[in-house]
Amino acid sequence: MSTSTIDQLRDAELSYRTTLVGGAVGAFLLIALLGLLFPSSIWASLLGIITSRSTLSSALRLSVPITFAALGGIFAEKSGVINIGLEGLLIISAFTAVITTAVIGPGTVIFTVPVVGVSLTAIWIGFFAGILVSVLFSAIFAVVCIRYKADQIIAGLAVWLIALGLAPFVSTVYYGGVNTENLGTSLGTWAIPVLSEIPFFGALFSAGPAVYMMLVAVPASWFILNRTAFGRHIRASGENPKALDTVGVDVSRVRYAGALLSGFLSGIGGSALSLGLGQFIGTNQTMVNGKGFIAIVAYLFGNYNPLGAFGASFLFAGLDAVQIRLQQVQGYTLPDSLIQTIPYITVIVILAFVGRTYIPSAAGEHYDSGEDNR
């Protein structure tokens, strides 16, 4: 691909993202105007919902699994491994987190740090167990793709399908049903004094621990990817593995790191999803219900930039949060499944206009250093 094509793509990306952001701001201003002009219309209710603190708080909560999976997807794909098994990683970590906590006993305190009085409870062991199993799954995926040169799309589908079968299977063995029992406890919220009193934005400071993790992980991922040697290796591995190989960096190792990071980050998202509720729901597509696929869309939307991916995740989660609240407004019942399709339709429309998203040029390809063969 020549430089000018890349430039053209970048220009297209920029212009569509400007349009998108402009559109979102414009829509909000329109709603605000209509809401203020007609205080008893649906616009006023909508404005009330959008500007309410609880909507912000649930939008943040809902964006956690999508954002983490998207960050993981960025690291994997930037390194040259397309991981469409993110959905499966979310499922398996969500389930493991709950069942581990349940087996230990939800109320069990593992140890308490003296003096400070902070204690490690079973739910945190469950949280880490979820991450661990997700990393394990991504390791299998990585070996299959990198060592055994499997097609990444098919292997990713396999990861999704295995998780989709395995979590309800083990749940049925243990509980006799695809849904686990409710732990009776969840990760809870950590309110920061004073700051959490602020109207609207206070929701940022009275959130679950996973929301704080997300707010740290997004800029941290950006920094790692763009300002460190490791990030440079990841990007080179996906764009020009041969060059990376030439300077003496093991391409396979970088790709393993990228794939394992996708497992680690998705694991946080999955654990946070189920432990935030205190239960794993395994009916149909399970409680994950496509969030892993939305995550893929989110990072494509955000053009592989962690900040952009978070923006897109937050937009989707925000639409969902508004939709849930809108159901409670008297007199305006919109079919929820219609609103739930909005993020997907948006993606289709954007893709129709922009077409090819800018994927790392060596993503999906196998790389051999040549040492094994010659």
């Binding site: 691909m1 469409i84 299959v144 055994y148 040169k149 499997a150 097609d151 990444q152 799309i153 098919i154 292997a155 589908l157 396999a158 990861v159 999704w160 399908l161 295995i162 998780a163 989709l164 079968g165 395995l166 309800p168 299977f169 083990v170 049925t172 063995v173 243990y174 593995p241 041969k242 149909n284 696929f293 893929i296 869309v297 494509l300 079919p335 499944s337 219609l338 739930q340 399709t341 997907y344 339709i345 993606v347 289709i348 893709l351 129709a352 206009f353 922009v354 077409g355 090819r356 998203t357 994927i359 040029s361 060596a362 993503a363 999906g364 390809e365 790389y367 051999d368 040549g370 063969n373």
Partner: protein
């Protein structure tokens, strides 16, 4: 090369591999998945609680016996022809036209359509993950059309002969048009079909649910479903027991479609264009193939086959349309991958998954092992089919040295990952 190029390389590798090698890899994948499935059954047998251990290995009792599980699965899918308690003994009361076998064949029939759907797209170099959505909307169109047209037709067999083919056609058309959307997006704006088809699945489910719950809901029902199609307008069981939801007519239709698709792909100029644009897009363009049109047509065809799958599900199994459509479209991906995207390969692959699905009910009932085990097996099979290199390496390490040259030449292509060599 892009990610799509990567997929293409693999596609080319899969289609280039000889049929014998494909069968060998699929068989090896099946064996590996079965072994790991057995391990999962054993381990979960330690977690489960039971009165008496089903099997004891190395002095440790396990609640589930994997050998027993597979025997029950196979036996159940065939409708209990063997008395497992006295091994090998044929069940004198066994009737081949039983519910178990009907269930197996019903699943097989449905999977033939969705497997073909995915295979056609695959052969054109397109990854259609959207068969599920095409099936959902095709099925809905079939159900609505049948309910709408039924009052204008004479009840009974004549009405059925008119209604059923028309309803299937409507399903195929709607499924095809829905499949053509990602095709057109791919052709005219280069949108990645993997992503658009996944998105369109969610959109189809949403649209269908809204349409039925807001406009076409059966007022007499608690769940979201359309009004029922009169019995004479559905595919009723022939030979197999009433209520088995399996009609041999549908299976025969499915097998005929397999032959038709094979003929289309291998013996017509359209099929040639489709295959070359899948295997060697540049060469196809150079040879005068209109790549854009081929992409849209292939996706239309793929979607139409998915739509027919939905139509048959409605006409043969459910008798109307309701939400919670089974994941037949996703299973179609599995079937097609296992079949190596060969239309004839779809038949044994669909039969295998039909057997697994049907047998899993007997497994859950008789051994207590949850039926979701089949979902795990499905994923494992896909995982192993995805890595032929794994089996090649095993093959290379166990064959004597002087035979290695041959292995290296027919399996050792693709030495380098870049397109620059």
């Amino acid at each position: 090369m892009s990610a799509r190029g990567g997929v293409k390389t693999v596609l080319r590798r899969l289609t280039d591999a000889s049929v014998a090698e494909r069968i060998l890899i699929s068989f090896a994948a099946l064996v590996m998945a079965t072994l790991i499935g057995a391990a999962i059954v054993l381990v979960s047998g330690r977690v489960a609680t039971c009165q008496t251990a089903a099997t004891t290995l190395f002095g440790v009792g396990f609640c589930y016996d994997p050998v027993d599980v597979y025997l029950v699965l196979f036996n159940g899918a065939l409708g209990q022809p063997f008395l497992l308690d006295s091994p090998g003994l044929f069940n004198p009361n066994w009737n081949p036209l039983n519910f178990g076998l009907a269930f197996t064949l019903k699943e097989t029939t449905l999977l033939i359509f969705t497997g073909l759907s995915v295979a056609v797209a695959f052969r054109a170099g397109l990854f259609n993950i959207g068969t599920q959505g095409q099936l959902v909307l095709g099925g809905l169109a079939t159900a609505l059309f049948a309910v709408f047209i039924a009052p204008f037709l004479p009840a009974g067999i004549i009405g059925g002969i008119i209604l059923i083919p028309l309803a299937v056609l409507v399903g195929a058309l709607v499924g095809g048009l829905y499949g053509a959307i990602p095709g057109a997006l791919k052709a005219y704006s280069d949108a990645n079909e993997v992503i658009t088809t996944i998105m369109l699945n969610f959109i189809a489910a949403g649209i269908a649910k809204v349409l039925v719950s807001e406009f076409f809901r059966n007022p007499d029902s608690q769940v979201i479903e359309t009004a029922p199609i009169p019995d004479w307008g559905t595919l009723l069981p022939v030979a197999f027991p009433k209520g088995s939801d399996f009609s041999i007519l549908a299976l025969v239709f499915g097998l005929a479609l397999v032959v038709a698709v094979w003929y289309l792909l291998e013996r017509t100029s359209f099929g040639y264009d489709l295959r070359t644009s899948g295997e060697q897009p540049e060469a196809a363009e150079y040879g005068g193939v209109d790549a854009k049109r081929t992409t849209v047509t292939s996706m239309f065809l793929s979607g139409a086959l998915g739509g027919i799958g939905g139509a048959i599900w409605v006409l043969m199994v459910i008798g109307n349309w309701l939400t919670d459509v089974p994941s037949l479209g996703f299973d179609g991906i599995t079937v097609s991958i296992l079949a190596g995207n060969n239309p004839f390969g779809v038949i044994p692959a669909a039969l295998l998954f039909g057997t697994l699905k049907s047998g899993s009910l007997a497994v859950q009932f008789q051994t207590g092992v949850p039926k979701q085990l089949v979902g795990v097996l499905r994923g494992l099979i896909i995982l192993f089919v995805a890595m032929p290199e794994f089996f090649r390496m095993i093959g290379t390490s166990i064959t004597p040295k002087r035979d290695r040259e041959a292995v290296a030449t027919d399996g050792g292509e693709h030495l380098s990952g870049g397109d620059d060599e």
